[in-house]
Amino acid sequence: MTTETILQRAGEILAPFSKGNSTPETNRLDVQIEATDLPAATSAMLSNDLGYLSAITPTDLGKEVNKLEVIYHFCEGAAITSLRIHLPREDQPDIPSISDQIPVASFFERELGEMLGVHVVGTPDSSRLFLPDDWPEGVYPLREDFTIEQAAPVTPRETLPEMGRVGNKFTVPIGPQHPALKEPGHFEFAVDGEIITGARMRLGYVHRGIEKATEQRNWIQNLYLLERICGICSHTHTSAYAMGVEKLAQVEVPPRALAIREIVAGLERIHSHLLWLGVAAHEAGFDTLFMYSWRDRETVMDLLETLTGNRVNYSITVLGGVKYDFTAEHSRAIHKAMDYLEERIRYYLHIVTTDASFLQRTRGIGTMSLEEAKHFGALGPTARASGLERDVRIDSPYGAYNRFPVSLITAENGDLEARFEVRMKELLVSCFAIRTIVDNLPAGELAVRFPRKVPAGETISRVEAPRGEAFYYIKSGGGESPTRLKIRTPSLCNWTSALNKSIGHQLADVPMLIAGMDPCFSCNDRMITVRRENDSQTLSWSQMREYGIKKYAETRETK
């Protein structure tokens, strides 16, 4: 289906619920509906295959309008259908849940509840998403009148039991500080012997409140703030943001700048996937591969450094273009590095698909069928490994991807092996794409002048991060800073599948399963309960902690 037919069809299907349609951009349809019609409208969208739920945007429209706005974005190809719902601006207005139809909506709904103070009726879990335990009740950071003084710490509610036993079932807590992953996340796995029967996770350890912070910074400052959402895919965030803001300001970015952005995006994908390969191999106990892939990753880091001056937060994007030019010298360096990398990547591809002991950890583990991938709303390489053809660079080409397209890589099996295969092949595609752009770099300006104020309006920009689709909703009130910026990162959508797929596997497979989706905690910081057992508890955390300190002091004295 083309974008036009999707939007036309969506318009027809949603007509019975519609309280007013609009087309803010050529690839978007905006339908205003009543909150009570939401489940019916969602089921109509899903049964007609008109898109997957990409994000829910909660906004407070302010005291003057006296309304809260919740927008449900459904994406299919380049088409975006938005269901816009207005709620009264009182404490906890009701909105029905759609988690029974779309499992991943459970995250978004809990965010809705705690950030905007909306009561989601029928959501499976309404506990804290990503606000800290000591956050006071009834204070919602996304409300217009929120001040930091309101959020003074309170005594935390009794935290959930973190260790316990029911019959033969144990709950094994993992994290937030644990050796397998370099970022903090707390997991609780209910196990029956070695087999996992339930999984639960709590994030929020690296939640910083960036969405709110963007409203207090100007358009240019935000570029550098958003770059620091994630140190691994920093360019993704700046390019998604810049693309959206440029669209709002109606600034035409020179083709040379777009091409340079795509080169950096390609290099970033290579460094990110090689990093992932190393970490995933480390989880499998294959440390040699870890060291090899990180050694080779340094080749890309050197390229990024020569090109942008930085190894990690490249800051090459500016609003209206890029900062640094690309020279013949860079081109030679890139070709040389690509020669080396392509050879190494082919070798790694060979290793991960043939090494017998490694395959025992990957083949047939965490297998996700195409239907499941669709149902769980998987994104990026995780989805493509199950044969789901979902890639923003191809579905909805942005920036220079119209001029320099990339090819889609999918695999059939949907297990961990397939995810390794897809990522390694994507690296080869990226290497090829980078070579093509370098050889055919358009001439011209690097950047155009960008206004200080951005005209009022709202836009959506989607970018394919190394981990999947990143979704940005940007709203400007015509001033020097955004009035609302919503970010939805790919890891968030992939958690549902990773946790659900862990059930039935051995506890020892968990690190691999988690690493298999390439999670990024700093990008998304939320929590989910897939299934929870009723557990008992012997010691509370504070008792446990006191006990630990006492015990440690005792052993020191006896020495």
Binding site: I148, Q177, Y205, G548
Partner: protein
């Protein structure tokens, strides 16, 4: 043979210092970082930079670690966990703050979920600036800390000037 107690103590001190300087085991804690510093710390451990040649080894358990390498501003949810990790480490313990956010809060200053920088929660012995610091800088910071340990001194405590109100 009657060896003076004093001599035994001196010898023991020498041996512990030798061991401490040659195998400072570290634990890494991310209290709200963007991942940039974390991947640079990991890069420091891998073949190109290979900090293991100084005996530095990243451990999974705080009970095994001498040095706590912290990254990122401290978020409200991570604060308790950071303290708990620190408490679990055996004495003597040293804290290294890596990156601008760990030193001052960086770009995240004023965000509603940020408690502040690491020195507001823990006593920090070494600061490594940068956003993120290059692996060479991280090695330099660690080696400076080791030099202090060799001399049996702790780095000078740093007191921060009171924060200007924005």
């Amino acid at each position: 043979m009657n060896v003076p107690q004093n001599y035994v103590n001196q010898l023991m001190a020498k041996i512990t210092t030798w061991a401490r300087v040659n195998s400072p085991w570290a634990i890494h804690f991310n209290s709200g970082s963007c991942n940039g510093c974390d991947i640079e710390i990991l890069a420091t451990l891998t073949p190109r930079y290979d900090i293991e040649r100084f005996g530095v080894k990243l451990r999974g358990s705080p009970r095994h670690a001498d040095v706590l390498i912290c990254t990122g501003p401290v978020t409200r949810q991570a604060r308790e966990r950071l303290l708990r990790t620190y408490e679990q480490m055996p004495d003597p313990k040293f804290v290294v703050a890596v990156g601008s956010c760990g030193i001052s809060g960086g770009v995240f200053q004023g965000c509603y979920n940020i408690v502040g920088h690491i020195n507001e929660v823990l006593p920090v012995d070494a600061f490594i600036p940068g956003c993120p610091p290059r692996p060479e800088a991280i090695i330099d910071g660690i080696v400076k800390l080791l030099t202090h340990l060799q001399n049996g001194t702790r780095p000078e405590p740093i007191t921060f000037a009171p924060q200007e109100t924005a």
